[in-house]
């Protein structure tokens, strides 16, 4: 079996006094699209932030391409080839679209060129001079994904990329994720929209109370429908 690109073991994380993650265990292999699913407040976003080094108080193990990162600051973690697209999209209001797009430094070879990014998201070229936060929600989401494609990161973490978007935009983001998979990107996705998650992912980890409580392969979705309904409360 292929060595995992990301292996999380016994990951604990705290915000101040609040213990959020209670020993998360999961892994993502190269080229996979894996989702973390679960109810609001289960700890999915904190997991991504803890992997990225954005939560300072964390213990356990996060192996990225075989390198232990749990003691590293975020900027060093990023330079190992991982990038995050945060839940709130993280568009900088003081920068225009082009500046937002070209802000993250290239950390490794093999990232997309600006032209390739524009071919995936043509609207970003048209809106280049607009202030980043003046874009529509869907356009901001595209910008947030687009800007990490240039960096050369091979593992992309997308935090609820479909949240609050119109169905037509959700479909477009789904196509983008499929396209990224074809280009050998590995994707760790946090989603609440299970229909969307099942249309793009290979495997799903169910997160509850800061822990992984189940793993479901995408092809086994139908057999686990009842269990999923219970987990997600839908």
């Amino acid at each position: 079996m292929t060595e995992p690109l990301l292996k999380v073991a016994g990951l604990n994380a705290w915000y101040g006094e609040s213990h959020i993650l209670h020993g998360m265990d999961f892994e993502v292999r190269p080229g996979e699209v894996v989702t973390l699913i679960g109810r609001n407040g289960a700890g999915k976003t904190t997991t991504l932030r803890a992997i990225m080094g954005m939560v300072k108080n964390r213990t356990g193990s996060v192996l990225l391409g075989g390198t232990e990162t749990v003691k590293m600051p975020a900027e060093r973690v990023a330079r190992l080839g991982i990038a995050i697209c945060p839940e709130e999209r993280g568009i900088f209001s003081s920068l225009n679209v082009t500046e937002n797009l070209t802000l993250p430094p290239v950390i490794a070879e093999g990232g997309m060129s600006l032209e390739e990014v524009y071919s995936l998201f043509p609207i970003l070229k048209e809106r280049g001079k607009s202030q980043g936060t003046k874009l529509s929600g869907g356009e901001q989401q595209m910008l947030a994904i687009a800007r990490i494609l240039r960096t050369g990161a091979k593992l992309l973490m997308l935090d609820e990329p479909t949240e609050g978007l119109a169905p037509v935009i959700v479909e477009q983001i789904g196509k983008t994720i499929q396209e990224l998979r074809k280009r050998d990107f590995t994707i760790l996705l946090v989603e609440q929209n299970f229909r969307f998650a099942s249309s793009v992912a290979d495997r799903h980890y169910v997160v509850e109370h800061g822990n992984v409580i189940d793993e479901i392969a995408n092809e086994a979705i139908d057999q686990n429908r009842e269990k999923l309904t219970q987990y997600l409360g839908v």
């Binding site: 990225m52 080094g53 954005m54 600051p73 975020a74 900027e75 973690v77 990023a78 330079r79 990038a83 995050i84 945060p86 993280g90 900088f92 209001s93 003081s94 920068l95 500046e99 070209t102 802000l103 993250p104 430094p105 950390i107 990490i148 960096t151």
Partner: protein
């Protein structure tokens, strides 16, 4: 004699020039202060003291090593920027996660220590620092004949050095504005101001960027100090005399606004100068009156976010 609004023209123009020169110092100082506040969210009370240190470094370079004005104009800001980076790295960084009030208190204490140290060694009477020979002398400016319709009339004497101060300030302010608003480094600085955690997650060493920004901000203060040395004497209290006015200017421009700091600096220097002509008694308070009005009408400042 030609008069302007009932005031002799040479007197009016002389005060306008003084206003522009003060405005030059205000602009460079408030620019550095706005830069530091924008990225670090620290009200840098040590800014005036570091302006004074800049002037003293130029003075000491001349006294002990014989390094004159022109090299000191580069060297002193670089030395003070280095000092600033050490201050940020070892004193301010440990306070990053605490309330911003701690940064204010620390820099206030630092200002007292720096001022007290120089006061101990040099007193408060001030050290002379000569104008460089190449900028000695003055130009006689005349009112153009197309304006008077008769023979040229004397308008004012413009000392070369004071003209240089205005030009140098404009160059430095413009260069800093271009750095912040038009370069990749500036974009990173602006982005790190908004979302430092995310910028770090892009692989950018934000703590180093913050140290660099603090160094740049205090380097600007030191540059203003060297420019000021030949005009005012080099004095341990020169910083504390100007810093409160500079804070008012930053508030008027909009906290953290780079363009606002530059425009307000020059504008308020001129307003202060003109007030000296028409109502000298109010010249010391006019900037604070303007600040009060701006805060009532546009609480975020003239160029601040949300204004």
């Amino acid at each position: 004699m030609i008069e302007f609004l009932g005031v002799p023209l040479p007197l009016f123009m002389g005060q306008l020039l003084i206003g522009l020169i003060n405005g030059s110092f205000y602009a460079v100082l408030s620019l550095g202060l706005a830069l530091i506040f924008g990225l670090l969210n620290i009200v840098n009370f040590a800014h005036g003291a570091l302006y004074m240190v800049g002037a003293f470094v130029a003075y000491l370079l001349l006294q002990f090593i014989g390094i004159g004005y022109w090299p000191a104009l580069i060297l002193a800001p670089v030395i003070v920027a280095g000092l600033g980076m050490l201050i940020e790295r070892f004193l301010l960084r440990p306070l990053h996660d605490l309330d911003h009030l701690y940064g204010l208190l620390l820099t206030f204490g630092l200002a007292l220590v720096l001022e007290g140290t120089f006061r101990h060694f040099y007193g408060v009477s001030g050290m002379p620092y000569s104008i460089p020979d190449s900028l000695a002398g003055a130009q006689r400016l005349m009112v153009p004949t197309w304006l008077t319709g008769e023979d040229p009339v004397f308008m004012m004497a413009l000392p070369n050095y004071r003209a240089w101060v205005i030009v140098a300030s404009l160059i430095v302010c413009t260069a800093t504005w271009i750095l912040i608003e038009r370069t990749k480094l500036g974009a990173l600085m602006r982005a790190a101001t908004e979302k430092p955690d995310l910028v770090r997650a892009f692989g950018v060493n934000v703590p180093a960027l913050i140290t660099l920004t603090y160094g740049l901000g205090v380097g600007l203060a030191a540059f203003a100090g060297v420019l000021a040395a030949p005009i005012y004497s080099v004095n341990p209290i020169m910083g504390s005399n100007i810093i409160i006015v500079v804070f008012a200017i930053v508030v008027i421009g909009g906290l953290g606004s780079i363009g606002g700091a530059i425009v307000s600096g020059f504008l308020l220097g001129v307003i202060e100068g003109i007030t000296k002509v028409f109502y000298p008694e109010a010249s010391n308070v006019v900037i604070f009156v303007v600040m009060a009005i701006v805060l009532i009408v546009r609480p975020a400042g003239l160029f601040g976010k949300g204004a």
